[in-house]
């Protein structure tokens, strides 16, 4: 360290005990990094090793076989997941963006702070509790489990993330752009939607994808909303299979072949999520133009 060299002439040399402590603590810090990265490497290693090895054409194209029979796949769960995530996004994204616009453009007051705090609280609610709410507000009225209930539960989890990132991104848009639009006589709604939101598009999309990545692997809120299904279902109001649910059920089963499929399912799921995270980073890197 250069600063020690500079002080050498004035300050007495650093004692052995202090030097050793310094070395030991540095070593410990390096050790913590290694310890933390070990499970990451182990999990990804397992995923690739067992996941890729278990992946086959049948897994991607067939529905589950009855208990005890070897073979089959999770095609219905993959499609079910896409459907549930689609429903969640259709509900969650507009509300999230709307709430974000409210906070950025109209919410600079006490009521805005209340909404902001509410969104943060909502972000911390355990996902299993959101599942109870999905059950209470959709399943109990429909009288059966459904993809819609799962989508509603997941959309509740999307809104706070989208809302807060949208707000942050809109606040980065220079005030001068708004003023320029007003100066041209453009009404406020038009300014907000086609000038402000447009400028912040890449950031807002980043937020949406973060929220999407977060809910894509969620299992707890689906347990008693979509329930799962062994067969094909493309209707929004019927019990639906979902990838995370299927992984959970298969992992807890005593059958070796189901364990294999659980790994294959996890691999497919993680590929979906890692792709979104990579896309998020790509969008962030590309999207600095809106940030003045």
């Amino acid at each position: 360290m250069p600063e020690i060299a500079a002080g050498k002439s004035v300050v007495p040399p650093i004692g052995l005990r202090r030097r050793v402590t310094d070395q030991v603590m540095t070593g410990l810090a390096v050790l913590t990094v290694l310890v933390v990265l070990t499970p990451l490497v182990a999990i990804f290693g397992y995923l690739v090793y067992r996941g890729v090895g278990s992946l086959n054409w049948a897994f991607l194209t067939q529905t589950p076989k009855p208990v005890g029979e070897v073979g089959g796949g999770m095609a219905n769960a993959i499609v079910g997941s896409v459907m549930i995530l689609g429903i969640a996004s259709i509900i969650g994204v507009p509300f999230g963006i709307g709430a974000g616009i409210y906070l950025a453009e109209f919410g600079r007051n006490r009521f805005g702070s209340v909404i902001r705090f509410t969104a943060d609280v909502l972000n911390g609610v355990p996902s299993i509790v959101i599942g109870i709410v999905g059950y209470a507000i959709v399943v109990l009225y429909q009288h059966h489990f459904s993809a819609l209930a799962g989508g509603v539960a997941l959309s509740i989890m999307m809104v706070p993330t989208i809302c807060r990132t949208t707000e942050e991104m809109l606040l980065l848009v220079p005030q001068a752009l708004r003023e320029a639009a007003y100066g041209l006589g453009v009404p406020r709604w038009r300014t907000t939607l086609s000038i402000v939101l447009r400028t912040a598009t890449s950031g807002v999309i980043t937020g949406i994808m973060l929220a999407f990545a977060r809910i894509a692997g969620e299992t707890a809120p689906l347990l008693f909303t979509t329930l799962g299904n062994q067969f094909w279902n493309l209707r929004y109001d019927q019990p639906t299979a979902a990838l995370p649910l299927q992984i959970f059920v298969y992992a807890n089963s005593p059958y070796e072949d189901w364990h294999r499929q659980a790994w294959a399912g996890s691999f497919v799921l993680i590929v979906l999520i890692v792709t979104s995270v990579a896309a998020v980073r790509y969008a962030v890197r590309r999207g600095s133009f809106g940030a003045a």
Partner: protein, 343 residues
């Protein structure tokens, strides 16, 4: 967040009114104003957007309302005894949540004991020690841990962590630390210890990323001042950095705790799911979140369902308090509140 060049983020307030006024008198002359709508559409827009904001509030109110009304039955039947009784018997409709509360607290505590030193170590390494080139990839990899779904952690724990624990770690711990009573009993692998470890792995990214954020806000001159006194690097970190960041680190830890308390899937898969209170960490347990995951969709009978919802309500309230506390702590640090001076 606000652009420093424009010190008043609340500027849009007066502007549109002025624009609207102009449109009323000058619409004849300037076609642009006429074609793009006027006050009416602005009002509709503002109402729509406000409704979206209100929806956020409404969802939270709805959550509280559903949890409170649907747990009323259980609350009337058991009252405060619900939190003190430890029998969970759906057949005779006797419900006490103590084993679940105990399981949630103990598994989260084990997770914190493991995760806090590791997370702080990682954060200190990335902000103070590691070469600049490594900084960004390292934090990316640690945060990648946060992107792995809970159910995949559980799957990995069942097939990799649990065998490791039961074959190597638990026999060793039992032999060397068995006398404490915390590490005794048969080494099943599955149990409180496994749940604590998997939770620790899951909350490390949260605690370490917040700690890193807090450490980077510690002013550079604090470091320089301590170094100028002839401190070693570790002394500089301890006195100049960590001490100044205490409150923020505490906030990160509590935020991690909030996550651990509500975590469901991975824990459910490895904790053993037995509603018992045992001193040993080798013994199976049960948490509030996992009992909901396992029993909610199969609960028959109104009291049973209501008791489960009450557990959900408790979980909800606890995580809200914990999260609010954490945000307050992080907020006081990162909003440039100067660290308290030397006493």
């Amino acid at each position: 967040m606000a652009n420093p060049a424009f010190p008043r983020p609340d500027m849009p307030g007066p502007q549109p009114v002025a624009a609207a006024n102009i449109s009323a008198e000058a619409a004849e002359r300037i076609p642009l104003l006429r074609t793009s709508g006027g006050e009416g559409s602005d009002r509709v827009f503002q109402w729509t957007i406000t409704a979206c904001g209100l929806a956020v509030l409404a969802v939270l109110v709805l959550i509280v309302y559903e949890l409170v009304t649907r747990s009323a039955l259980s609350w009337h039947a058991f009252g405060f005894k619900f939190f003190a009784a430890s029998d969970w018997d759906p057949v005779s409709e006797q419900f006490g949540a103590l084993p679940f509360i105990y399981g949630t607290l103990v598994s989260s505590l084990v997770a914190l004991v493991i995760a806090v030193p590791l997370s702080i170590g990682v954060a200190v390494f990335t902000t103070e020690m590691c070469p600049k080139r490594l900084r960004s990839p390292l934090s990316f990899f640690v945060e990648l841990l946060a992107a792995i779904p809970s159910v995949i952690y559980g799957l990995w724990a069942i097939f990799a962590l649990v065998p490791l624990l039961s074959n190597y770690v638990q026999p060793f711990l039992g032999k060397s630390l068995g006398w404490t009573g915390l590490f005794s009993g048969p080494p099943y692998g599955i149990g409180m210890l496994a749940a604590g470890i998997i939770l620790a792995i899951m909350i490390i990214p949260i605690i370490s990323s917040i700690t890193r954020e807090v450490l980077t806000v510690v002013p550079q001159h604090q470091r320089e001042a301590v170094l100028a006194l002839g401190a070693t690097r570790w002394e500089m970190i301890r006195v100049g950095v960590l001490r100044n960041a205490r409150a923020g680190i505490m906030g990160g830890v509590i935020l991690g705790l909030g996550r651990a308390l509500g975590e469901t899937m991975a824990v459910t898969m490895v904790i053993g799911n037995r509603p018992e209170i045992a001193k040993s960490l080798f013994a199976p347990g049960y948490t509030m979140a996992s009992v909901l995951a396992n029993e909610f969709s199969e609960a028959t009978g109104d009291t049973y369902l209501s008791a489960l919802v009450e557990i959900g309500l408790v979980l909800f309230l606890v995580t809200i308090v914990v999260n609010a506390l954490a945000r307050l702590l992080v907020w006081t640090v990162t909003r440039g509140q100067p660290a308290r001076g030397h006493a």
